[in-house]
């Protein structure tokens, strides 16, 4: 464990990158996923087909391939996707092209799963709820804002939380592609301190378990708060 304790600042910074990757990608992927879900449940057939196609394609593609695309391929087609224009420094954290490529890969990948989570939430609202709302004369906006969406949001919380937990774990792939987040740092440690591998592994694993527990705790709190009597 000495390797971890002596370099605790490095470990913290590594988990800092993990958390930043998670937060930025979570915001973007929830926004994109909501948009996709709107397309998939909306009335325009072309957009429904596009949404279905995107989700099917992305869900069956390994995340590593998407990372490879943003590391090697995308920049060759579109100059902006080299992300060389990103150069932000906050305290000890540097957000560069590697970080941006990771955020792009993680967000586009997770958006497909967020979309499915939200769609499941919408589907979980019984048809009779909307019919009853229309029957008492609520207009479309009323049906949506008063009856359907509140229930859909609530039903979406657990599957979205699962998706976000998966996202947190997936940030580890960025460690292979140039972002020194937790797994990248762990790999460095296991190289440098060969005799402490079990301790190093356990320390980083506990870090992940803690983060996962925080997400699932928050989701349980939200779920409980939004529960109808």
């Amino acid at each position: 464990m000495n390797a971890v304790l002596d370099n605790f600042d490095l470990v913290l910074r590594a988990f800092g990158y993990t958390v930043f990757l998670f937060l930025v990608s979570a915001v973007i992927s929830v926004a994109l996923g909501t948009l996709l879900a709107a397309m998939r449940v909306g009335p325009v057939k072309v957009l429904r087909m596009f949404g279905t196609g995107y989700v099917t394609l992305v869900r069956n593609t390994p995340l590593v391939m998407i990372f490879l695309f943003f590391q090697l391929g995308a920049g060759k087609i579109f100059d902006a996707l080299r992300f060389t224009w990103v150069d932000i420094h906050i305290g000890p954290f540097d957000f560069t092209s590697f970080f941006s490529a990771a955020v792009a890969s993680l967000s586009l990948y997770t958006a497909a799963f967020v979309c499915e989570a939200i769609r499941a939430g919408v589907n979980a609202v019984p048809l009779g709820q909307a019919e009853a709302a229309r029957a008492i004369g609520l207009p479309f906006s009323g049906v949506m804002s008063q009856v359907v969406l509140p229930q859909a949001f609530r039903a979406s919380v657990p599957p979205i939380a699962s998706t976000l937990i998966a996202l947190l774990k997936n940030t580890s792939v960025a460690g292979v592609f140039g972002v020194i987040e937790a797994v990248g740092r762990m790999k460095g440690f296991t190289n440098d301190y060969a005799d402490q591998r079990w301790g190093i592994f356990l320390a980083f694993a506990i870090g992940y378990v803690l983060l996962v527990e925080i997400i699932s705790l928050v989701s349980t709190l939200i779920e409980r708060r939004w529960k109808v009597a």
Partner: protein, 289 residues
């Protein structure tokens, strides 16, 4: 989609409006696709030279044998291992003895919460560190890591599957004097397996995709086979497109198989619902449809 939760059955004016939206959306999509194609053309990604390797028998063979076959082997070994792991720990979590239930719960929760890539790195350096041959070492680290992760997920599937068997079945078995072991092996497991097969095949898709995480430990299989090809020909974009297409096709075939089995052997019942990491097993509610 005539009437749903979100929309009432549309009238003539709404139908016309939706048609207008469709035209606009279709135009926007076509424009987007055209723009991407134009960029591909402008940057020379569509040149024949860059695609030639995928028409050359030697490279096709390399992709299929060193790539696809190895990937399938890894995924298959991992799923077999995961089923064994899953049965052991899934049944363990249902045990009546607290000293069996708790360790099983801990192991399952731990391996579900830790990133697979981390397990792979750990297996590569610590568990199989002594192995001489690099490719075998990578192979077994990938397989072991995927076994542990997917096994932990399958343990939950098994638990949910066994719980999905009607309670009367176990009660009846106890009533005719069967022992606990007999109830589990003769009555509950055979019935649960039928419900679980589609979920196991779906997990195979996850395992197949995750074999690519072996990239972290000098990987093997489809993702890795891309590297020598694009290094030799400088055709990054075509290589990524081709390899991704192979993954997608294989996974879609597996998904089709799972759906077919679900329909043929399980009926139209919905797929097993498995709680997320850290969620107490009592508040498992069916939210996914």
């Amino acid at each position: 989609m005539s009437a749903g939760v979100l929309f009432d059955a549309p009238g003539p004016a709404t139908v016309a409006r939706h048609r207008a939206y469709s035209v606009v959306a279709a135009l926007a999509l076509v424009a987007g696709v055209a723009f991407v194609l134009w960029r591909l053309q402008a940057t020379g990604q569509l040149e024949y030279d860059k695609w030639e390797p995928f028409l050359t028998p030697r490279y096709i063979e390399a992709i299929l044998v060193d790539g696809l076959l190895v990937t399938l082997q890894m995924a298959f070994s991992a799923v077999i291992g995961a089923v064994v792991f899953g049965v052991l720990f899934g049944v363990g979590k249902l045990s009546d003895h607290r000293w069996v239930r708790w360790p099983c719960w801990l192991v399952v929760e731990f391996f579900r919460a830790v990133p697979v890539i981390m397990l792979m790195i750990f297996c590569f350096y610590a568990v199989f560190g002594g192995m001489d041959e690099l490719s075998r070492r990578t192979y077994w680290s990938v397989v072991l890591a995927l076994t542990l992760y997917n096994g932990a997920v399958l343990a939950e599937v098994f638990r949910a599957g066994i719980n999905a068997v009607p309670r009367g079945q176990a009660e009846a078995a106890y009533a005719i004097g069967m022992r606990k072991t007999q109830v589990m092996t003769i009555v509950l497991l055979p019935q649960a397996v039928k419900i679980m097969i589609p979920a196991i095949i779906s997990q195979m898709v996850v395992a197949l995709k995750d074999t690519s995480l072996g990239y972290a430990v000098a990987g093997l299989g489809l993702t890795r086979i891309a590297k020598p090809i694009y290094q030799q020909f400088g055709n990054h974009v075509p290589t990524i497109i081709v390899i991704t297409a192979i993954y997608v096709v294989i996974n879609l075939l597996l998904t089709l198989l799972a759906t077919w089995i679900q329909r043929r052997f399980v009926g139209e019942k919905k797929v097993l619902d498995v709680p997320m990491v850290g969620q107490a097993q009592s508040d498992t509610r069916s939210t996914t449809l």
